[in-house]
């Protein structure tokens, strides 16, 4: 991809030292022309946007896109020997913590021996008494852990922080590496960097070790908070690469001390949970009763040995910074070894002498809360205004055991290279341990302090550095390859995800039909006008009103908002306060999408997000001439329709045509069949407010109706003549090939349901399918001709003049027939919801409970 001039051939065959390599990269970048560098950076920018994962969807408005901090091209290079030292030290550390947790939640021998002050453990809210003596069969607490390290001025790595509860951020490293390889492949030439791409597979291996199922199947899920979590993208990306479902607490249910996932196909057993939530949130019955994210009864599954948690429940205790002060003693107690890696000395403020020392020399210290994490709970005292310090000191004085301090570190710096140029900055390195025996080479580093990864990683991803761990030329290190060869057992689509996709389909379709219909109707005479033409076109306006969820008389009794035809386009396209506007529909579509980003390809998100942001921007600028113009000349309408076509195209091309896809299709067809019938009803069975019902339907209205529903081409292909009512009705209701006909949509729903349910649907699960089949039969049995009485006499000449053929109006029964169809479709939506989304009907009790029917 990058054909930049100067080459990297100066690298010798032997792997250079990290310092030499860093210098060579700097020289290489320094030798590039400004345009070459610009191209690299703009490519990086492009890849970030394409991926969509590199900006925060909540804050991203177009104007802010460009405010990125700049992509850092300089990798952090770590030599093989240095890495081996870190590896050994971190493995020692994770083993010590694992032994500690096993002990604390069982006999507490280390506390009895007085090696660690029991006050630290007992006073920490993350010491969960409910987790004590859980007789789970698996003795390990720590499966995926992380350590944050910083370099002191001599370049020595110190462990600053342990993440024993939840370890986040590994996928940022993979993302960074992926982009680096694309935009600057030359940097990698001749350098042997340890492979990081199988990180997720290795995590999966560790999880599988936790479960011993007779049938060898391991069903894992990743339990997280959802899109409100700042690390959601990391969670989603890891889950996707592991091939497991990312779920929220409400997706899971405990039955008889076993954990089940609610899916469109019923309840699926879960064996192991990779948690992305702290223990206190996981079970509202035992822990924090106010938690909305947990699963009631989760703990009972662990207690019975029916569920493995990674990391083990209660392991968050080991994140306590006051405990870390005693880690050397903990390591020695359990392993008899001396610690291999250094940490800054931790001062425990519960000690009065320590407190005085810190107060006297406060500028030298960083104060941190013992167990609360994040920038709000650590203070670089030197940078604090006096009154802030005084307030903090009061808090410390009231609860001294909740605070620790360590000397502020003078950090070594490493070079960084962004669009703004080359600088030297201190970095934090996060390394991940897998189980008790391995440290993954997939490490992430960033410029800035410890807690900056957790504040707003998404915006800070630019500050992430690619971490290169060099392979030793002698080949002494044996690379680890993930064992997982087959894809893990995949769980069915969760009901929550299915529901979101269903609604995405409905909202996208609603947006499209609204834009399309408006494009035609907007040009027609304003209905309240007292002219013959206005009266004649009223059914079209009524159709627009009906298919956007308004009363058919909507335009005849205009609200204050819509005084005349000029207000109409804004109201239907951009009005954020109108729930049925294209903007609102797309917002709803995007909100649904945001929660389940991992279930469709980035291309889809990118189109949807772009369109939404563009419309939000236009809505914001509604007063300007530009926006007024594009609303008036309908170029915005056209633009929306084209971009929605692009969305459909992206889905069609990039998405797996799996269950998720079928639920999107169900949503599209459910919405489309309804709008088609609603529009048809208004034009064929017009009630022209107050006036006597029309006794004929003009061919031009039918033509416009076809245009509104994208059916003009279809009609002309079939009939080569001006539209007449019976034919239009047949096309829109019964045609097998026209993609907007009610029949086509119902048939599409039937196919989607059959594909989801498989050959042998569970008992009762196919009720919606049966309902669908009945609706199709009903539809086919409608003999349209019988509802249109033959007109007597010669009435084909139009009272409005020459060239408009007229069809007769259908009988009242026809209207009743359409109403029946609408009822069937609405009922169908309820059935879909009851059976696949609302989790009620799908619970297969007999398999789980042998009980009399519930009261």
């Amino acid at each position: 991809m990058s054909e930049e001039g100067s080459s990297f051939s100066s690298f010798s065959k032997e792997t250079p030292s990290p310092a030499d390599l860093t210098l060579q990269i700097q020289n290489h970048l320094g030798g590039l022309f400004a345009e070459q560098l610009d191209r690299i950076f703009s490519l990086a920018e492009e890849l970030r946007e394409e991926d969509g994962s590199y900006f925060d969807p909540k804050n991203a408005m177009p104007s802010e896109w460009s405010q990125a901090n700049g992509f850092d091209l300089m990798p952090l290079v770590i030599g093989n020997e240095e890495w081996a030292r870190l590896e050994a030290g971190l493995i020692q550390r994770v083993r010590a913590w694992n032994s500690f947790l096993r002990d604390i939640y069982a006999g507490q021998e280390i506390l009895k021996a007085g090696v660690v002050p029991y006050e630290i453990v007992y006073a920490d809210p993350n010491f969960h008494r409910g987790c004590a003596r859980l007789p789970g069969a698996i003795p390990d607490y720590l499966q995926l852990t992380a350590f944050d390290l910083q370099q002191n001025e001599r370049g020595q790595w110190l462990v600053m922080e342990d993440h024993m509860g939840v370890a986040e951020g590994a996928t940022y490293a993979m993302k960074k590496r992926q982009i680096m390889r694309q935009i600057a492949p030359r940097l990698f030439e001749g350098v042997e960097v340890l492979f990081i791409e199988d990180f997720a597979a290795q995590v999966m291996d560790i999880l599988q070790e936790q479960v011993r199922n007779p049938d060898g199947r391991v069903r894992a899920v990743l339990l997280a908070r959802g899109s409100s979590d700042e690390h959601y993208l990391d969670h989603a990306s890891l889950a996707r690469q592991m091939g497991v479902s990312i779920v929220q607490g409400s997706d899971l249910v405990v039955l008889d001390s076993r954990l089940y996932l609610k899916t469109i196909a019923g309840m699926e057993r879960v064996d192991v949970v990779l948690r992305r939530l702290e223990t206190s949130l996981l079970d509202p019955v035992t822990f924090d009763a106010g938690s909305r994210f947990g699963v009631p009864g989760l703990l009972s599954c662990v207690r019975r040995g029916e569920l493995a948690m990674a990391n083990g429940l209660g392991s968050d205790l080991a994140d306590n910074r006051a405990l870390a002060a005693h880690l050397p003693a903990i390591i020695e107690y359990y392993t008899g070894e001396r610690p291999l890696l250094a940490s800054p000395h931790v001062f425990e403020l519960r000690d009065l002498d320590v407190r005085e020392e810190v107060a006297d020399n406060r500028d030298a210290y960083v104060v941190r809360h013992a167990w609360k994490r994040g920038p709000a709970h650590e203070w670089m005292v030197r940078h604090m205004p006096a009154h802030d310090w005084n307030r903090l000191w009061q808090q410390i004085d009231a609860n001294p055991s909740e605070y620790v301090a360590h000397k502020a570190l003078t950090q070594a710096t490493v070079p960084s290279w962004t669009a703004a140029g080359s600088r030297s900055l201190p970095v934090t390195l996060r390394a991940f341990a897998l189980g008790q025996n391995r440290v993954s080479p997939c490490a992430v580093a960033w410029t800035g302090g410890i807690s900056s990864l957790s504040t707003s990683m998404v915006q800070a991803t630019d500050r992430i550095k690619d971490v290169w761990i060099l392979r030793q030329s002698s080949g002494a290190s044996i690379p680890y390859y993930a064992q997982t060869e087959e894809a893990p057992t995949r769980l069915r689509l969760t009901s929550r995800v299915a529901e979101s996709l269903f609604w995405m389909g409905r909202y996208a379709e609603r947006a499209e039909v609204t834009a399309r219909a408006l494009r035609i109707v907007q040009m027609q005479t304003w209905p309240p006008a007292h002219t013959a033409v206005a009266r004649k076109r009223r059914p079209l306006w009524a159709a627009l009103a009906a298919l956007t969820g308004h009363d058919s008389e909507f335009f005849l009794q205009p609200e204050k908002k819509i005084k005349d035809v000029r207000d109409v386009p804004f109201y239907f396209l951009l009005d954020p306060e109108h729930g049925g506007s294209v903007l609102s529909s797309l917002q709803a579509c995007r909100e649904n999408a945001e929660n389940i980003r991992e279930h469709f390809p980035p291309e889809v998100w990118s189109v949807l997000n772009r369109l939404y942001l563009q419309l939000a921007f236009d809505a914001d600028q509604a007063g300007t001439d530009r926006v007024r113009m594009i609303l008036e000349d309908r170029s915005l309408h056209q633009d929306i329709i084209m971009q929605l076509d692009e969305l459909t195209g992206a889905l069609e091309k990039h998405m797996l045509h799996n269950d998720a896809w079928h639920f999107w299709q169900l949503g599209v067809y459910a919405e489309r069949s309804l709008t088609t019938i609603l529009a048809l009803e208004q034009v064929l069975v017009p009630e022209t407010g107050g006036d006597s019902p029309a006794d004929s339907i003009s061919s031009s209205n039918l033509d416009l109706l076809l245009q509104m529903l994208a059916g003009q081409y279809a009609y002309r292909s079939l009939y080569h003549a001006r539209p007449i009512a019976t034919r239009v009705a047949r096309l829109l209701l019964q045609d097998e090939d026209f993609p907007r006909s009610a029949f086509f949509c119902l048939n599409g729903m039937r196919r989607a349901l059959e594909a989801t349910l498989g050959e042998n649907p569970a008992k009762g699960a196919d009720t919606p399918l049966k309902h669908c089949a009945r609706a199709i039969t009903d539809l086919n049995y409608i003999d349209i001709m019988t509802y249109f009485p033959r007109r007597s006499g010669n009435e084909s000449s139009s009272p409005l003049g020459g060239d408009d053929d007229l069809s007769g109006v259908p009988t009242a029964e026809f209207s009743g027939k359409l109403e029946d169809l609408i009822d069937l479709l609405v009922e169908f939506n309820v059935l879909i919801s009851d059976h696949y989304l609302d989790h009620q009907v799908v619970i297969r009790e007999p398999e789980l409970f042998d009980l009399p029917s519930p009261r």
Binding site: K112, D256, S257, V285, S300, R303, E845, P854, R855
Partner: protein, 294 residues
């Protein structure tokens, strides 16, 4: 004495609940002060009960109802024999500060009962009151008994004015509440003085029908306090009745405060409103002789 105890708790939901998961702590604990002769827990809808022992040694039963249900009813039936208590206090001739010091070797095991907890926090008001009621140079036994009388005399037993969420500060201000509030108050005051105290959930025989010995507290379950004696025993004190725990008390479980031993704690999905009704009967069975240790 032998008691038959029937403890029924029912939740009636305003609309059917979809799923519910519940933990019960309604099984009286076995100890050298009481002997459980018989126990059964019945739930409706009928679902299996899972049983385990919690951190504080209490027996917990849990149940999940994964289908629509309009009500959930739990009935615990126990037959318990209680033993007469020895006079544990009068032999203790020491001051409050001596008691604090004598407990020191046991501090790790007692730590949970020395620290403030969710329902028994330390506040400046409580600390001041504690100094007043339990002066460090005062006699330990006398101070504890005086504290029992103080709460009994200064606070009014008034069902309905407080609930689980009522903070101690408000109880202290209004000077009224129920057994649970008095227990939490006493626990906080004892802990402020540096002495271990724990919460006891249980039953009491009330004999409300004109009995001169009628005790207060039990149309539902009862709650009182245990204070740790330097002699190594937990002594039960019932500030609601100004007595020490006796043969007419039946313990279910112990913990730091109510939160650790709530008889029924659960989560359900569905309607927002629920109606809780609790009925407890504690009746003495007469003439039955059950051999000790049966």
């Amino acid at each position: 004495m032998i008691f038959n105890i029937v403890h029924n708790t029912s939740y009636e939901y305003s609309a059917p609940a979809i799923e519910s998961f519940t933990e019960l702590r309604v099984r009286p604990r076995q100890s050298n002060l009481q002997n459980i002769l018989h126990h059964v827990t019945e739930v409706n809808p009928r679902v299996p009960l899972e049983e385990f022992t919690d951190y504080y040694g209490n027996t917990v039963e849990c149940l999940s109802v994964p289908f629509r249900h309009k009500c959930l009813s739990v009935t615990s039936r126990s037959t318990v024999e209680t033993m007469p208590r020895k006079d544990a206090l009068s032999g203790l001739d020491l001051t409050v500060s001596e008691a604090v010091r004598l407990n020191w070797p046991q501090r790790r095991l007692l730590f949970d009962y020395l620290m403030p907890s969710l329902h028994a926090p330390f506040t400046p008001e409580l600390e001041a009151l504690s100094k007043q009621c339990l002066p460090s140079s005062g006699s330990f036994a006398d101070s504890i008994l005086a504290l029992n009388s103080f709460i009994y005399n200064q606070f009014t037993y008034m069902p309905g004015v407080t609930d689980v969420r009522t903070p101690l500060a408000e109880v202290l201000r209004t000077r009224q509440g129920v057994c649970q509030d008095f227990a939490h108050l006493m626990i906080a005051l004892i802990r402020c003085a540096g002495l271990p105290a724990r919460y006891v959930s249980g039953y009491i025989e009330t004999n409300s029908s004109g009995d001169p010995d009628a005790l207060t507290g039990a149309t539902a379950s009862h709650a009182w306090v245990e204070v740790y004696l330097p002699s190594g025993f937990w002594l039960g004190i019932d500030p609601t009745n100004e007595i020490l725990e006796g043969e007419r008390h039946v313990q279910i479980g112990v913990g730091r405060d109510y939160h650790d031993v709530s008889p029924l704690r659960g989560v359900f999905k569905g309607p927002e409103r629920q109606e809780l009704s609790v009925a407890v009967t504690v009746s003495r069975t007469t003439g039955q002789s059950v051999p000790f240790g049966a």
